[in-house]
């Protein structure tokens, strides 16, 4: 069962290599129109980078996503904490959060277009709707099981409600918040692409348009960038989590 680090790494490299080889062979057989092989995608990718539209659109889309996602965090974290600590709030809000979680992002897109048009706030609102539920529920689970002794300390120092949130609850919830933000971000990126592909604007619009191309190489290149961004953002948040709450991983490994 136990493998050395080098063994692990070489197996991982082998797995990636096999996947790329299978893709290359399948791509050669099917042709560029159906599935461009990695070698063709690499060539197209250099072209995409040189053209500049890809990175420009990505930056523009991310800016809008960031606004929606930041709002989701700003509202979701206090809301989740309140739900976790006050039974009445939980009873009122929880059913609606569950409904939000099962409702597809794609389904609210037509409604938001009527409500907000297709401008800045439309995309921010779709991203918000898609990510806020995950942030709320993760924070909620943390707040529900918070150590009572921590609250007692806060009470002993006669902290007010806001002080209690900022100085006791929030630090105790860091691990949960980091997890919630990570899961929320995955859904925010998904929602951004859904919203943009629907209105054919921004990065999602670019994906949609390159789908009409005769070669699938640029399309695959765009997907690669999205993949790299998603993985990088996830790793960055993990790092930030380790910084903010270094006790988190220790506790996990102790379990």
């Amino acid at each position: 069962m136990t493998m050395s680090r080098t063994q692990r790494l070489s197996l991982q490299a082998l797995g990636i290599f096999i996947a790329l080889t299978v893709w290359e062979i399948a791509g050669r057989i099917l042709g560029d129109a159906l599935l461009a092989p990695p070698t063709a995608v690499a060539v197209a990718y250099v072209e995409l980078l040189r053209d500049g539209a890809m990175l420009r659109e990505l930056a523009g889309s991310l800016r809008q996503m960031a606004v929606g996602f930041a709002l989701a965090c700003l509202i979701g974290i206090p809301a989740g904490t309140a739900m976790g600590r006050v039974k009445q709030i939980d009873a009122i809000v929880h059913p609606w959060v569950s409904m939000l979680m099962v409702t597809s992002v794609a389904a609210v897109v037509p409604l938001y277009i009527l409500l907000l048009g297709t401008g800045f706030w439309f995309r921010a609102a779709v991203v918000f709707t898609a990510s806020v539920g995950y942030i709320v529920l993760t924070t909620y689970n943390g707040a529900r099981g918070i150590d009572l002794r921590l609250l007692d300390v806060g009470r002993a120092f006669s902290a007010g409600a806001l002080q209690m949130f900022r100085m006791v609850l929030l630090p105790a919830l860091y691990p949960y918040i980091v997890t919630g933000v990570r899961i929320g971000l995955v859904h925010a990126i998904r929602a951004m692409v859904v919203a943009e592909m629907f209105i054919i604007l921004g990065y999602g619009g670019l994906i949609y348009q390159s789908g009409l191309d005769t070669s699938t190489a640029p399309l695959l290149g765009l997907l690669m960038t999205l993949m790299l961004f998603s993985i990088a953002a996830n790793q960055l948040l993990r790092l930030a989590g380790d910084r903010l709450a270094p006790w988190y991983n220790q506790r996990l490994s102790l379990r």
């Binding site: 069962m1 197996l11 991982q12 797995g15 990636i16 096999i18 159906l34 600590r85 006050v86 039974k87 939980d90 009873a91 009122i92 929880h94 059913p95 609606w96 569950s98 409904m99 979680m101 099962v102 409702t103 597809s104 794609a106 389904a107 897109v109 037509p110 409604l111 009527l114 409500l115 995950y134 529920l137 993760t138 909620y140 689970n141 529900r144 099981g145 918070i146 009572l148 997890t179 919630g180 990570r182 899961i183 995955v186 990126i189 998904r190 692409v193 859904v194 592909m197 629907f198 994906i207 949609y208 390159s210 699938t216 399309l219 997907l223 999205l226 993949m227 998603s230 993985i231 379990r255």
Partner: protein
Amino acid sequence: MSANKAILQKEHTQSGAAPERVAPTSRNPARGSGWSQRPGLSYLISLAAGVLVWELVSRQLPGVVFASPLATLQRLVEDSINLKLPLALAHSLGHMTLGFVLALLVAVPLGFLMGRNEKAFVMLDPVVNAIYAIPTVAFVPFLIIWFGLFFEGRTALVFVMCVFDILVTVAAGARNIDPSLLEVGRSFGVRGWQRMRLVLLPASMPFLFTAMRIGMARAVNAMITAELFLATVYLGKYMQDSAARFDSAGILAVIVILCAVGLGTQGALKRLESRMLPWHLQS
């Protein structure tokens, strides 16, 4: 690995159960009393409060962009009686079910392979995580090229949208099967098919149900996504038509239906789980 953890965490948040390391709630009750302790009553109060907020918001906005709850209910009842909505829903469930079943057939065996064979896990994990990181809707142009705009394309989108979530959950679950259960099996000398049936399968049922719940949520999501992003049909067409007429009641009616389908399938799977696995304690 990262995605697995995230998924398990996600499952906790979705099922509403606290992560294991959290102290039991009984020892640490949140404040509350009276109506909030009675699930049926508090659910009704919550519904009423939400509908009231909806009503108040809709009064501030013109009816074309945000219909009131009453207008939405009226549309829901009207188009249910003339069978427009029920027929569309019945058609929609077709590609949803097929895509979901196909995803289960592929992801469950592959997940077991990854979960029970360390070498396979180490090899496949980076590849699965890489593909999983791409938002599934971005595959739509591909699916159109490969499967067309109609039934095959819709089924393919449902399949792609749920297969990775199921795979990652099953792999994480199978990796974490309690070793003591396997040891008991070994000491009683069960192997081969018997081991599968008497040890592995019962030990796997809880996370298989979890995987099904996560996959089903994605499948409902994918169902309407497919109807809006490929050829617009059934509920998707109903939504698009309503949007073109600036008829927000129609859009909201579909959202209500999708919500009900989502909650209904989750509830049904949970009920099935507690009936089939009474030994698996749910909080």
